[in-house]
Symmetry: C2
Subunit: 222 residues, 2 copies
DNA sequence: TGGACCCACTTGTGATCACAACAGCCCCCA
DNA sequence: TGGGGGCTGTTGTGATCACAAGTGGGTCCA
């Protein structure tokens, strides 16, 4: 059983849906995306229901929805668990991140004003703190917030949704990767992204984003 | 009730799941992707259940899963319908198709042997027949089969799944578009795709695929 | 001591029911 | 004749139950 913690995900104004299955879905999704759960973690409908104080029905709908997004896998007998990704799958998802996020960054560039860049610098400082604390969950969450802050400016909701789906699938594995490679410094390419944004340098931005989303992969391969 | 047709989707050995919600899901998904349902078509859980001879529970799970993939939308009060896409959304989805499918085609190119190209030519002939009959559903289905046949060679299941998710979201709208623009000849860019495959011309292939997936859009804009 | 079998329990699936909310429709009155 | 209010039927939500299938462990025999 995982402690729900103070999830304070930035800027989600419309929160109170009050619909049970949606509340369960959102919380589980956030936990999975941010690496709260390790790869291969088993879950049960009755367990989820008891955790959220609901019956099996909303738990089942949440799980079904998350499974459709690739955030959970279901064995042939229906057992639920977080995915354990093969190396090929990880590489493919990283390639997808590169494809989609480079495009999102490129579309966001003309709209990236100074206030946005400053916000990204602030987030980057929070990432540095998380790295120093060795806090994997906080690092992953803040890192994704850095990217999402930029991509929201692209005004491309379908593309952003695709990118988030990839993040969701990689969540548990990202946590495991983080624990393995033991970062000691904040991501270097974030500086390049910010510099390219300030300079209005589109090719440089594309390269920086591509490098950033595939950097962890190179460390894994070694 | 729509005839399942001879989908002969290459290599789907494990078909009979016999699980009710999965059977409903697959049939609904196929119908939506291939344009059997117009945009804005309303659906009800009890109606779906009656159609497939099941209770509301499997119907609800199928709908929830399809909604998660963007194949269905749910109003704030929970009403279910196929999506009605804005022009901006259509353009965005076409851009996503271009991004992902160009990459898939590029990855498939080194593995595209003559047998595959011949199969694609056969499919292309079927497309021509569907166009002459003015059969929108058959045209959409065969056209997607043409693309999927190529992309399966890319050995990139996550990317292919993303591409299919986009197809799914565009399904109902594709049907409406087809009815509006009244094709009289088979897609010209399919020839270019096949020619580029034969020549091993990677830049040419990328351009042909990009042109093919965005051609309908240009007609819409006029 | 090692392995195979068996049983009990856990777990997902599907059906059914009660309920609240919304939609559409009709009627009535100005 | 037009618009507002109320009502009925429809629809999604969540809980509960019966059931089948698979898992895991414990026991018994060789």
């Amino acid at each position: 059983m995982i402690t729900s913690g103070s999830m304070t995900l930035a800027a989600r104004p419309t929160e109170a849906t009050s619909v049970a299955h949606d509340r369960v879905y959102r919380d589980l999704r956030s936990r999975i995306m941010h690496g709260d759960l390790p790869p291969g973690q088993a879950l049960t409908l009755r367990g989820i229901g008891k955790n959220y104080g609901v019956s099996m029905t909303p738990a089942r709908e949440s799980v079904r929805r998350l499974a459709a997004e690739g955030a959970l896998t279901m064995s042939t007998s229906g057992r639920i668990s977080t995915p354990e990704l093969s190396n090929e799958r990880i590489e493919e998802l990283a390639a997808l991140r590169a494809l989609i996020e480079v495009e999102l960054a490129s579309r966001a560039l003309p709209r990236a004003h100074m206030a946005l860049i400053e916000r990204m610098q602030t987030i980057n400082a929070v990432i540095a703190e998380a790295v120093q604390r060795g806090d994997a969950v906080s690092y992953i969450r803040t890192n994704l917030e850095f990217h999402r802050t930029l991509y929201l400016r692209a005004q491309a909701p379908a593309m952003l949704a695709m990118a988030e789906t990839v993040w969701l699938q990689m969540g548990p594995t990202m946590r495991a990767l983080y624990g393995r490679l033991r970062r000691t410094e904040p991501p270097q390419f974030h500086r390049l992204i910010i510099a390219a944004l300030k300079a209005g340098d589109e090719p440089g931005l594309r390269l920086a984003v591509r490098s950033d989303v595939t950097q962890g992969l190179r460390m894994l391969a070694s």
